[in-house]
């Protein structure tokens, strides 16, 4: 088994999870997650549905509080930050949510400009210019800016969510299942956009997915979560010879193997 702590050579750790635990009632979702993401690296966490990938991401963002363990960002312990400290930390982060989580009370351009007008306090006109340029960067014309989120298709919602995540030019970007629910072609378009945006910003990226095509395209390094732990992590080139039965079963999508699907959640 590859050491989950091993990161791309020589670069300092941007995000570090140490022995993170999280339970909901009696249900233990995370049982000691250790994961290090180096600066400028793109890590993809793979794992089955309901294995706690989103919960892990929310623990890093502070949307959920870990029961035990710690989260470090840029070497600083951020596990217990709250209030305005947390808001300030969030300026380093951009996040594309699974369902895009666009604000349906605001037109598309205001969604994209939200971080600029609300957090960075930019003037509306200036923020709108930036928002339209970000929309263009994800392949959407200015006319889309005036639509309401309810009028968009799934692929367009993801693109707008991506534009919103990169609008404030964060140095860390998270993607929660960016291709789930899209057709394979639109999925690949989103993958390309993610790779392009992350490279242009020089950002550190963490994605979670169960789509292997997407993982192979986005990742520098892949980590697999199972049973509330990271059970394997390594460069994307080694994923096919991980020597780990769990990883092999997952990437080949076999029903038979050491991973038993929980039919009933419990």
């Amino acid at each position: 088994m590859t050491d989950p702590q091993a990161t791309a050579a020589g670069r300092p750790a941007k995000i570090e999870l140490r022995d993170v635990h999280k339970a909901f009632g009696s249900k233990h979702v995370l049982n000691g997650v250790d994961l290090t993401i180096a600066e400028g690296e793109s890590v993809v966490v793979i794992g089955g549905s309901g294995t706690g990938k989103s919960v892990m991401m929310k623990c890093i963002l502070g949307l959920l509080k870990p029961d035990a363990g710690s989260v470090h960002v840029d070497g600083r312990d951020t596990t217990h930050l709250s209030g305005s400290e947390r808001d300030r930390l969030m300026r380093h982060f951009g996040m594309l949510f699974q369902g895009a989580a666009l604000f349906d009370s605001l037109p598309v351009w205001q969604n994209v400009a939200f971080g600029l007008t609300q957090a960075k306090r930019l003037a509306r006109a200036e923020a709108k210019d930036i928002a339209l340029s970000k929309l263009a960067a994800v392949g959407l014309g200015p006319e889309v800016g005036e639509l309401s989120p309810a009028e968009l298709s799934g692929g367009m919602r993801k693109r707008v969510g991506l534009a919103r995540a990169i609008a404030t030019e964060p140095d860390i970007i998270f993607f929660d299942e960016p291709t789930t629910g899209l057709d394979p072609i639109m999925g690949d378009v989103i993958n390309d956009l993610i790779v392009k945006c992350v490279r242009e910003l020089g950002a550190t990226a963490l994605s979670i997915t169960h789509d292997m095509a997407s993982a192979r395209k986005i990742a520098d390094r892949i980590a697999m979560i199972y049973g509330g732990r990271i059970i394997w992590a390594g460069p994307v080139s080694e994923i096919d010879r991980s020597g780990n039965d769990y990883v092999d079963q997952f990437i080949n999508g076999r029903a038979e193997g050491p991973i038993q699907m929980q039919i009933r959640e419990g």
Binding site: R88, F97, F103
Partner: protein
């Protein structure tokens, strides 16, 4: 199996809910006085709660004032009716009927929509998205609603006071044949400051209650569409009950001697 166990469990769950709510309310209040503020959001809520509730509050108080005049007339047979009816109408409307009816109507209208909107934002991760955009959802979503609720309900009740009294006037003058100017001067004589003030204090308390219940139930909702539906129902029911309880408490404070 201890037969008292289910009762105990329900009681603990209830106290847990009360504690949870108290923490939420204190947090929300503390955010009300700390910047940043979102004037655009406050304005949106002021229009939504104040302006768009005018028709429903107007209709409710108008017909209540009219009914009150008819009922009072059928109950009063002696010659004092010309004085008694304007007095009854204006006192009852300003002290009780305008604030309570406006409160209950707005609880149905605004409490439900707040819980549904914020609840949907919760289950579709829009509240999480606010956090990741360095915006505190308490400040952006909850505080504007609390402020607008506590400010706009008194305005609505003031309008309701006038319209309710006017309803009594319509019946008094056009159905019962009272002298119009005498009705007005009798109304004016019966109007007391404490009645109006207590009504407005009630309205502010009700407005805050409606908003805080709507926000709380929406904010803590989970479990998809069903959870949002439950949050909506709970917001309206709890706000309505609290309005009736608060109405009693504030009445005691103002009028018991």
């Amino acid at each position: 199996m201890n037969p008292l166990a289910p009762i105990g469990r329900a009681f603990i769950a209830f106290m847990h809910g009360v504690g949870h709510f108290a923490v939420f309310a204190v947090q929300a209040l503390s955010h009300c006085v700390r910047p940043p503020f979102y004037p655009r959001q406050i304005l949106r809520q002021v229009i939504d709660i104040g302006y768009y509730s005018l028709p429903v509050v107007g209709m409710t108080t108008l017909f209540t004032g009219m009914v009150l005049a008819i009922q009072a007339y059928s109950g009063i047979t002696d010659v004092g009716a010309e004085v008694a009816i304007p007095t009854i109408v204006v006192v009852a409307v300003t002290r009780e009927l305008a604030p309570v009816l406006a409160g209950l109507m707005v609880a149905g209208r605004i409490g439900a929509s707040m819980a549904a909107e914020i609840g949907t934002m919760r289950v579709t991760e829009q509240i999480d998205a606010l956090n990741t955009l360095s915006t505190n959802p308490m400040k952006y979503l909850v505080v504007p609603r609390l402020i607008a609720g506590a400010l706009m309900l008194p305005c609505l009740v003031l309008v309701g006071d006038v319209i309710g009294t006017f309803g009594g006037y319509l019946i008094g003058v056009y159905r019962l044949g009272f002298n119009a100017s005498a009705y007005l001067s009798n109304t004016w004589d019966a109007l007391e400051t404490i009645g109006v003030i207590s009504g407005l204090v009630k309205a502010a308390a009700f407005g805050f209650t409606i908003a805080v219940m709507g926000c709380y139930h929406g904010y803590t909702s989970r479990g998809g569409a069903q959870g949002v539906g439950a949050a909506t129902t709970n917001a309206v029911v709890s706000a309505s009950i609290l309005i009736l309880i608060l109405n009693y408490v504030i009445t005691e404070l103002f009028f018991s001697r």
